[in-house]
Symmetry: C2
Subunit: 262 residues, 2 copies
Amino acid sequence: MTGSRSDGKPARLGWWPEVRDRSRDRQPLTRDQIVAAAIKLIDAEGLEGFSMRRLGQELGAGATTLYWHVKDKDQLIDLVLDESALDVRLDDDASAPWRDRLAGLAREIRAGLKRHHHLAPLYGSRIPAGPNTLRVMEHVLALLRTGGYDGDKLLLAFASLTNYVIGSVIMDNRALSGPETEGKSLEELRRMYVAILASLPADAFPNLVRLMPEAGPAAIAEDADFEFGLQRLLDGIEADLTHSGGVQPARSTRQCDAREHG
Amino acid sequence: MTGSRSDGKPARLGWWPEVRDRSRDRQPLTRDQIVAAAIKLIDAEGLEGFSMRRLGQELGAGATTLYWHVKDKDQLIDLVLDESALDVRLDDDASAPWRDRLAGLAREIRAGLKRHHHLAPLYGSRIPAGPNTLRVMEHVLALLRTGGYDGDKLLLAFASLTNYVIGSVIMDNRALSGPETEGKSLEELRRMYVAILASLPADAFPNLVRLMPEAGPAAIAEDADFEFGLQRLLDGIEADLTHSGGVQPARSTRQCDAREHG
DNA sequence: TTGACACTCGCACGGTGTACCAGCACTATT
DNA sequence: AATAGTGCTGGTACACCGTGCGAGTGTCAA
């Protein structure tokens, strides 16, 4: 990737200055550059392959140089997580029915997080509060308010949806990115699970053994489980809103800054 | 903790054999002992404080001794996770309405996992398939089948519930076990979040700023969000069952080994 | 010319997981 | 009784990690 280093040539000392990363050698490194490189590195090699030394190397810099721009590996990861939240697209169609908008938003968040699926395990241990993450949260809250949620229930509905979406991303990730599942096709994965479950003792785990043979490919399809549960959750939320006097038609209550005109 | 070692006494050599961990010095170490000690250590000090050297020390053994009984730190963690699944209590009241049984089961799984809340981040990166975990899964599947689920939808409903429960445990954990939130009371936590959210720019995040002041203590109460979403999810599931011809009275369909007689 | 400042990075420390292997206490076999 | 095996222990060593420290660089202001 960097200039050839070990190819004998004396390389015209000082003329073509024989360096690795031209773009950096004059300008100082930037926090943004570091975060971007970190995301790229993690996307490419997963969290295992991510270390400060390795990242420095990737940037053509010494490992400890990074500490001028960033307090910690921890802080860097927080920055990475928040930056990755930028990949959640928040354009939603304000003319669509409220429920569809909410479903679409949930799907977009999930899709955005899955764009950097190696980050998924990190959601389990830190609570990001960067501007980009907050922007996403704000958007969800606004939409929930538009639907009629308020006070206690706004918080409860918000947390429930978050639980579900994050949970689905995490569960997906761990099913798809183990060392032995990495890069397998869906059909291969299905066969693998069938084999594993079929090997279980049928007397102790009758339902597990029957599970995969009975379920067709549609049930294994990407997002199928997420979509099913999402619809059930929205069923319940909708019912809750109508029951408790809230309204769910598209454009009734106060706007609450839900970016109706995007 | 161990016997006094450096207190001058010759210690009656060989009579009271002056060792640290009596129970071990004759019998060899056991994998079960190791796993148990690992859980205890993680419960006490979190994942940070857990290393092979530290664990060995805790057992009065050399660090590398553990590798005779266990392949990897990775494998050890898998064993720990599966062992911790034993703390999920699966006694349910077969005479209760189906929906209540399912809710109770979900609550129990969540409660069981939260008994070792330091393990929560690990659910994000590995997919446990030990006997105890499978036992829990089997139980959920059996109950879902009792309710009328089958084929594709059985898998979908199972995955949805799992997503939600695991997600809620993970989100809870990360809200409650950061370095700055550890051991705070609920009221303190609430105040903390209020302060954080209140400090945000109100024009960019109007709904986030209003969120906490509007939500009363009931919305912050432990399990409140979990319970709300669970009920909404079950609303949807129930509706789905009645709509698609399934039945949801308590004791109708085939038993499917749901341990009706506990 | 002299500072001050922004920035880079080599060195070193204390930690990690774990491969390797020499050693121990038994038990079974000769 | 001597020997060989076998189950188990743990010390040493290696490669890697995050990161504090401080000596170095280049640039710009005074």
